[in-house]
C-alpha cells in the first residue's frame, strides 16, 4: 500500500471515528442511572492512599454504622454482582479511572500492588479470607489473587501504610525520598477488526486468573461476559508481546536452563 493510499484510508477511518464518537456520546449521556460515583484518585504520599479499613477498624466499627458487616465474611462474600447482571460497557471514563487507580498502587504495569490497609504484621496473613475469591464491601473491592496461591503474601506486596508507629521525628540528613523512576504504563490490547476480541496486552505470568480483574468485581476493566471461563479461547496474546523471557535471545536453550517444573508457577 502506498503511503498516500493509506493516508486516505486514515482520513476515512478518522471520519468514521468522529461520527461514532458523537453518536456514542449522546447514547452515553442518555442513560446514567447506573453510573457509579468514583472519587477521583489523586497522587499523594504512598502512605496516604485511599485506604480500606484495617481489621482493627472493622472490629471497632462493629457496633457503629458498619454493624451490618458483623464480621460475617461468608455473607459479605455473597454481596456481589450476579454473573448475569447487565454490565455497563464501553465505559471509557471508568476504564481510565480504573487504570489510574491501578497505577497509584503499582510502581509500573505488572508490579505487585501495595497493600492499602493495615495488616497484622507477624501472623501468617489471613489475606486469602477476602482475596481468594474477591469481595465487594460497599464501594470497595478486595480483588481476588490473579495468580496461583502463594502463602507468604507480604513477600511481594508491601504495605502502603506502615505498621511501624509513625512519628514525626526530627530526623536529620538522610536518604532523599525523591525518586525519578517512571514506570511502564499498562499497554492496550488491539483488535484485528472492529468487533474482534481484543488481544491480551500484558504478561500472563502472575496475572493468569483473568476473572480476578476482569470478572464481576472488576470495576472499569470487567468483561461484558464474565460467565465465560476459557478466556484465552478468544483472546490471544498480543503479537508484539513477548511472554517468555527466553524468547529471542537463545534459541538453543541449554538443558540446565529448563524449568524444573514447567508451569508450576505460571499455568
Amino acid at each position: 500500500m502506498k503511503p498516500r493510499d493509506s493516508q486516505r484510508l486514515l482520513y476515512v477511518l478518522g471520519a468514521l471515528v468522529v461520527s461514532a464518537s458523537v453518536l456514542g456520546f449522546f447514547a452515553g449521556v442518555r442513560d446514567t442511572g447506573r453510573a457509579r460515583v468514583y472519587r477521583t484518585p489523586r497522587v499523594r504520599y504512598p502512605g496516604e492512599l485511599d485506604t480500606a479499613p484495617s481489621y482493627r477498624d472493622e472490629r471497632e466499627a462493629r457496633r457503629g454504622n458498619r454493624a451490618r458487616h458483623a464480621g460475617n465474611l461468608a455473607a459479605m462474600a455473597e454481596l456481589r454482582p450476579a454473573l448475569f447482571d447487565p454490565v455497563p460497557d464501553g465505559d471509557v471514563a471508568g476504564l481510565t479511572r480504573a487504570l489510574a487507580a491501578r497505577a497509584l498502587r503499582r510502581a509500573y504495569a505488572g508490579a505487585p500492588p501495595t497493600i492499602p490497609h493495615g495488616i497484622d504484621d507477624i501472623a501468617v496473613p489471613a489475606c486469602l479470607t477476602c482475596h481468594e475469591r474477591g469481595m465487594q464491601v460497599g464501594q470497595r473491592v478486595a480483588s481476588a489473587m490473579p495468580h496461583p496461591r502463594y502463602d507468604s503474601c507480604t513477600q511481594c506486596h508491601a504495605q502502603a501504610l506502615p505498621s511501624v508507629p509513625r512519628m514525626d521525628l526530627p530526623l536529620g540528613a538522610a536518604a532523599s525520598a525523591e525518586n525519578s523512576f517512571v514506570g511502564l504504563e499498562e499497554q492496550r490490547g488491539t483488535r484485528a477488526w472492529i468487533g474482534a476480541p481484543p488481544t491480551v496486552p500484558h504478561r500472563t505470568a502472575m496475572r493468569s486468573q483473568c476473572e480476578s480483574c476482569h470478572g464481576v468485581l472488576g470495576a472499569g476493566i470487567r468483561s461484558t461476559h464474565p460467565w465465560r471461563q476459557s478466556c484465552r479461547q478468544c483472546h490471544a496474546q498480543a503479537g508484539t508481546l513477548d511472554q517468555s523471557p527466553q524468547g529471542g535471545v537463545d534459541e538453543s536453550t541449554p538443558p540446565w536452563a529448563t524449568l524444573n517444573a514447567p508451569g508450576m508457577h505460571a499455568p
Binding site: 465505559d91 541449554p254 524449568l259
Partner: protein, 824 residues
C-alpha cells in the same frame, strides 16, 4: 447496537487509528525508529521496551529478573521464568529493584572535602589524589570492599593490592557477614562453600531454621518451601530462634533459646544420637574424621578420636541443655529423634545467627557435624546449607578471595604453594605475593581510627560498594575516631550519599547494577552474568574502571609492583586482532568486554580447588551455573548440584559414594569438630539487663542506601524502631511509639518503640534493625569477634532500656563515655 457497543467501538477505533498512524510514520522515516536494534537479541513487550536478564541487585539468593528498558531508562521488572532459583517469582525488593537506580540524590561527580565541604573535582584530579596517597606509602593503604563487588571488580582490586602493592591489606564487608560460614566449610570439608544447593528446599521433609528468618531475609527461598504446602505437599518447619518472626508464623515448631546457647543445642543432638545409637555408623566409619581446637584456634586444629568426641558431648543431655538454653526437654528430644531417623530428609538453613557469633566458626562446624554424624548429607533435601546476604559474598569475597588471608580460587596467602601458583598465573617475580596475612576488617578500621603515632598504621582506606560508617560494629571505636585525625584519608566509591560518604575525604560516583556489565555468585555456587543496559548518571563510572585507572596511574609513576616480571602492566586487555586496548582510559573502557577478559584470566584459578568455572559465553546463555562446571566429552558444560557425591560431582572417583576430595586429613574424610558451649563475651547484667539483637527487615536491604530511596519500600517501613516485649514495655511504662533510650557500654540511641510488631522478642530482649542511617544502632554493638573467622557478633550485647526523658530527640546520638571493649 446499543450505546455500550457504540462507545466501546469508538474507543477501539480511536486507539487503532492512533497506533496505525505511528506505525506508518515509522515506516516512512526509518531514522525515527529508535528501536533499530538487532531483533535476534531483543525481546519486546509493546513496541519499544527491551527486556534482558540480570540477577537481582540485592541479597545472596540470586534471583534472576527481567529488566525492561525504554529510552535508556529502566521502566519495568519481571521475574525471570527461566531462572532455576526463583522460577519467575520475586520479592518486594526484587520487584522494585529498578527504582533503586533513580533516587534523586545519585552521586554524579567526584568530590573532594576542602575546609569541611565537599567540592566537585575532575576524575583526573581524583585519580591523581589517590595515586599520591598510595605512592607516598603503599603499606599504609588498605582497600575495604564488599560482597556486592562484581566478580571482575573484586578481581581487579585484589590483584592491584596483592600483586601491585605487595601486601594483603584488602578485606570485604563479607567479613561481617559470612566469614564464619567460610571458616566452617574450610575446616570441615577442606574447601569453602556449600556441598548442597537450593534444590534441597524442594525435597526436604523438614527444614530447620537456625537463628534464621528467611520469610523476611530470603523470601524467595522461603516461598520455595512454604509454597509446597499450597501444592498439597507436607513440609515441616522448625524455627530455632531467639525471637518470634514472620518465619515463626509458618513453623510447626518454635524452639526459643537463650542467645548463644545454640552451640549446646547442636551438641545435645549429637549426644542423643550417640546415646540412642541412632547415629550413622557408616558415616563415622567411612566418611568422617574428628578434630578439636589447638591451643591457638585455627582452621586445622588437632586430630581427635571418636571416643573423645563421645565423651565431650556426653554431658549435653536434653535435661542439662534445657536448663542452659531454655528449650524444653521434649523439644530437644524431638530434634534428637528427628536426626536419628534416617528416612527423614532434613535441611538445616542458617545465616547471620550462627555466623555473627563470637564462636561463629565453632557453631558452623557443629551444624555440619550433626548432619555428618547422622548421615543426613548429600541427598536431595538432606544436608546443611548456609545462606548469604549479599549478591556476591560467595562469588567475589570467597571465590575471588578478596579476604586479607585469601587468593583467588580458594587459595590461601599462608600457603607457599598457593602463592607460587598465583605468581605463575599473574606472571610475577617469585616471592612477590606477601606471605603475611593482611588486616581483617575490624583490625583494619581499628588501625585507621588509631593515631599513626600510636600504631595506627593505616593512613588511607578506599571503600567500594559498602557503607562502613553505618554497618561496622561499635562505630564509636572503629569508625568515628579516624574522622578526627588529620592524617587519615577516607576514599569512598558509592552511588548515593551515605553515612560513609558524608565523612569521606574523597567521594567517587559509581555506576550500579545494570549501568555496567557484571558477574556475581550466589549462595549455592551459582555464577551469574549480565550486560550493561542503561548509562550511569552524570560522571558516575564502574568501580572496576576506577581501580584500573588508579593502577595504571601507579604504573605510569613506575611503582614497580604494577609490572609483571616481563615489565608489562598487570592488566592487559586485547582486541580480537591482538592489539592492546587502554581500558584504563575511560574513552576506551567499553572498547572490549573488560569483564570477559578479567573473568577469563580469573577462571584459571578455579581449577586448583575444583571450583571450575565455564567460559564467559556459557554464563551469557544461562541463568547462572553452579560450579564446578565441568566440560563433558560431548562438549556440554555441566554444572554440579551436589558436591562430593558420586554421580553428581564429576570429581568423585567411581565407587567411592562420598568423597571429600579436599579433606584436610588427606583421607577423603570430612572433619567433625569437638566444641564445648562457651559463654558469650557480654551478657545482660544488673547494669545492662537486656539482650540487644540487630538485623534486617524484608523491605530494606542492609544499610538502606538503595531501598530507602524506593518509595514503595520506604513507605512500607519508613524508619527504624526497637521491638520490645509487651510485658517489659508495661513494666517500663513504654507505650507503642514512645521514644526509648537504649544504652550499651559503647553508645546510646533514642528510638521509637514498636510493641507486638513484626518481630516479638521474649522478655529481657530487644531488637533493632540497622537499615536507618538516622538511627545508627551500631553505635551500641560489640566488636568482639570469632577468634578464627574474625567475624563480629551483631546479634547479642547487653543494653539498658528506659523511657527517654522528655525532650529527648532522636538526632545526634552521642557516644557514651569511652568504655573498654570487652571482646577480642
Amino acid at each position: 447496537m446499543d450505546r455500550r457497543e457504540a462507545l466501546k467501538l469508538t474507543a477501539l477505533a480511536a486507539a487503532t487509528t492512533v497506533a496505525s498512524r505511528r506505525v506508518l510514520a515509522q515506516a516512512r522515516n526509518p531514522a525515527q525508529n529508535t528501536a533499530a536494534i538487532d531483533p535476534s537479541v531483543v525481546r519486546r513487550m509493546g513496541t519499544d521496551v527491551r527486556w534482558d536478564k540480570a540477577p537481582c541487585r540485592f541479597c545472596g539468593t540470586g534471583c534472576h529478573v527481567q529488566v525492561g528498558v525504554r529510552a535508556g531508562r529502566v521502566v519495568a521488572i519481571a521475574g525471570d521464568q527461566l531462572a532455576d532459583v526463583n522460577k519467575g517469582l520475586l520479592c518486594v525488593k526484587g520487584y522494585h529493584v529498578g527504582l533503586a537506580l533513580y533516587g534523586s540524590d545519585r552521586l554524579t561527580q567526584p568530590m573532594l572535602k576542602r575546609n569541611g565541604r565537599h567540592e566537585p573535582i575532575s576524575w583526573d584530579e581524583a585519580i591523581r589524589i589517590i595515586t599520591d596517597k598510595i605512592a607516598a606509602d603503599p603499606a599504609g593503604f588498605a582497600m575495604y570492599g564488599s560482597g556486592q563487588w562484581t566478580i571482575p571488580e573484586g578481581y581487579v582490586a585484589n590483584k592491584m593490592v596483592k600483586a601491585g602493592l605487595g601486601h594483603n591489606n584488602i578485606d570485604p564487608n563479607a567479613r561481617l557477614c559470612m566469614a564464619s560460614a567460610a571458616a566452617g566449610y574450610v575446616s570441615t570439608y577442606g574447601v569453602d562453600e556449600p556441598a548442597s544447593c537450593f534444590d534441597d528446599l524442594d525435597h526436604a521433609d523438614t527444614v530447620i531454621m537456625w537463628g534464621n528468618n528467611p520469610a523476611e531475609m530470603h523470601p524467595i527461598l522461603f516461598s520455595r518451601i512454604v509454597d509446597r504446602r499450597a501444592r498439597g505437599q507436607t513440609v515441616e518447619i522448625i524455627d530455632i530462634g531467639t525471637r518470634r518472626t514472620r518465619t515463626t508464623g509458618f513453623a510447626n515448631h518454635y524452639l526459643e533459646f537463650k542467645p548463644h546457647t545454640d552451640m549446646a543445642i547442636a551438641n545435645c543432638i549429637a549426644q542423643q544420637l550417640l546415646a540412642s545409637n541412632t547415629h550413622s555408623r557408616e558415616w563415622v566409619e567411612r566418611f568422617v574424621a574428628f578434630r578439636k581446637d589447638a591451643a591457638q584456634p585455627n582452621l586445622l586444629g588437632e586430630v581427635a578420636t571418636f571416643e573423645e568426641y563421645r565423651q565431650k558431648v556426653a554431658r549435653y543431655t536434653p535435661e542439662y541443655v534445657s536448663t542452659l538454653s531454655g528449650v524444653s526437654v521434649e523439644q530437644l528430644r524431638m530434634l534428637g529423634r528427628l536426626f536419628g531417623d534416617p528416612a527423614k530428609r532434613i535441611t538445616s538453613l542458617w545465616c547471620m545467627g550462627p555466623n555473627q557469633h563470637t564462636r561463629g566458626t565453632a557453631m558452623n562446624r557443629l551444624l555440619h557435624g550433626i548432619h555428618l554424624l547422622s548421615g543426613h548429607f548429600g541427598r536431595e533435601g538432606d544436608g546443611p546449607q548456609s545462606l548469604t546476604g549479599q549478591p556476591s559474598a560467595c562469588g567475589t569475597a570467597r571465590e575471588v578471595g578478596t579476604f586479607a588471608h585469601a587468593l583467588p580460587g580458594g587459595l590461601l596467602v599462608a600457603n607457599p604453594e598457593h602463592r607460587h601458583e598465583t605468581e605463575e598465573i599473574w606472571n610475577l617475580q617469585p616471592g612477590r605475593i606477601n606471605a603475611n596475612i593482611g588486616l581483617h576488617t575490624v583490625e583494619m578500621w581499628k588501625r585507621f581510627s588509631t593515631p599513626s603515632s600510636e600504631g595506627g598504621s593505616v593512613h588511607t582506606i578506599w571503600v567500594q560498594v559498602t557503607n562502613p560508617g553505618q554497618s561496622l560494629p561499635n562505630l564509636n571505636r572503629l569508625f568515628k575516631p579516624s574522622r578526627q585525625l588529620a592524617d587519615k584519608f577516607l576514599i569512598v566509591s558509592d552511588v548515593y550519599p551515605t553515612a560513609t560518604t558524608r565523612e569521606a575525604d574523597l567521594i567517587l560516583p559509581s555506576a550500579m547494577w545494570v549501568e555496567k556489565n557484571g558477574m556475581v555468585g550466589n549462595s549455592e555456587r551459582r555464577t551469574q552474568q549480565w550486560f550493561k543496559m542503561v548509562d550511569p548518571p552524570g560522571q558516575a563510572r564502574p568501580d572496576a574502571w576506577q581501580t584500573l585507572a588508579v593502577a595504571r596511574a601507579l604504573f605510569d609513576r613506575a611503582i614497580p609492583g604494577m609490572r609483571d616480571k616481563d615489565g608489562n602492566f598487570l592488566f592487559e586487555f586485547k582486541r580480537p586482532d591482538g592489539t592492546t586496548v587502554p581500558a584504563w582510559e575511560w574513552a576506551h573502557f567499553y572498547d572490549v568486554n573488560v569483564d570477559e577478559q578479567l573473568f577469563e584470566e580469573y577462571r584459571r584459578f578455579s581449577r586448583f580447588k575444583h571450583k571450575d568455572l565455564a567460559p564467559y559465553g556459557e554464563y551469557v546463555r544461562a541463568r547462572g551455573l553452579r560450579w564446578p562446571v565441568v566440560r563433558q566429552p560431548n562438549g556440554v558444560w555441566k554444572e554440579t548440584r551436589y558436591r562430593f557425591i558420586e554421580g553428581e560431582d564429576s570429581y568423585v572417583a567411581r565407587g567411592k559414594r562420598v568423597q571429600f576430595y579436599h579433606s584436610t586429613s588427606r583421607d577423603d574424610r570430612a572433619q567433625m569438630w569437638l566444641h564445648d558451649y562457651v559463654a558469650p563475651p557480654e551478657s545482660p547484667s544488673p547494669e545492662y539487663p537486656f539482650w540487644l539483637c540487630t538485623g534486617r527487615v524484608l523491605e530494606h536491604w542492609h544499610t538502606g542506601s538503595m531501598t530507602m530511596r524506593v518509595p514503595q519500600l520506604r513507605g512500607s517501613v519508613p524508619q527504624a524502631y526497637v521491638e520490645l516485649n509487651a510485658r517489659d514495655a508495661v513494666r517500663l511504662g513504654i507505650a507503642n511509639g514512645a521514644l526509648v533510650l537504649l544504652e550499651s557500654p559503647r553508645g546510646r540511641l533514642v528510638i521509637p518503640a514498636w510493641i507486638d510488631g513484626r518481630g516479638r522478642p521474649p522478655e529481657g530482649s530487644v531488637f533493632v534493625p540497622f537499615f536507618d542511617e538516622r538511627l545508627p544502632i551500631n553505635d551500641l554493638t560489640l566488636d568482639a569477634h570469632c577468634p578464627i573467622s574474625k567475624q563480629p557478633d551483631y546479634k547479642k550485647c547487653a543494653v539498658r532500656v528506659s523511657l527517654a526523658p522528655a525532650g529527648a530527640t532522636v538526632t545526634a546520638p552521642s557516644p557514651a563515655s569511652p568504655a573498654p571493649n570487652r571482646g577480642g
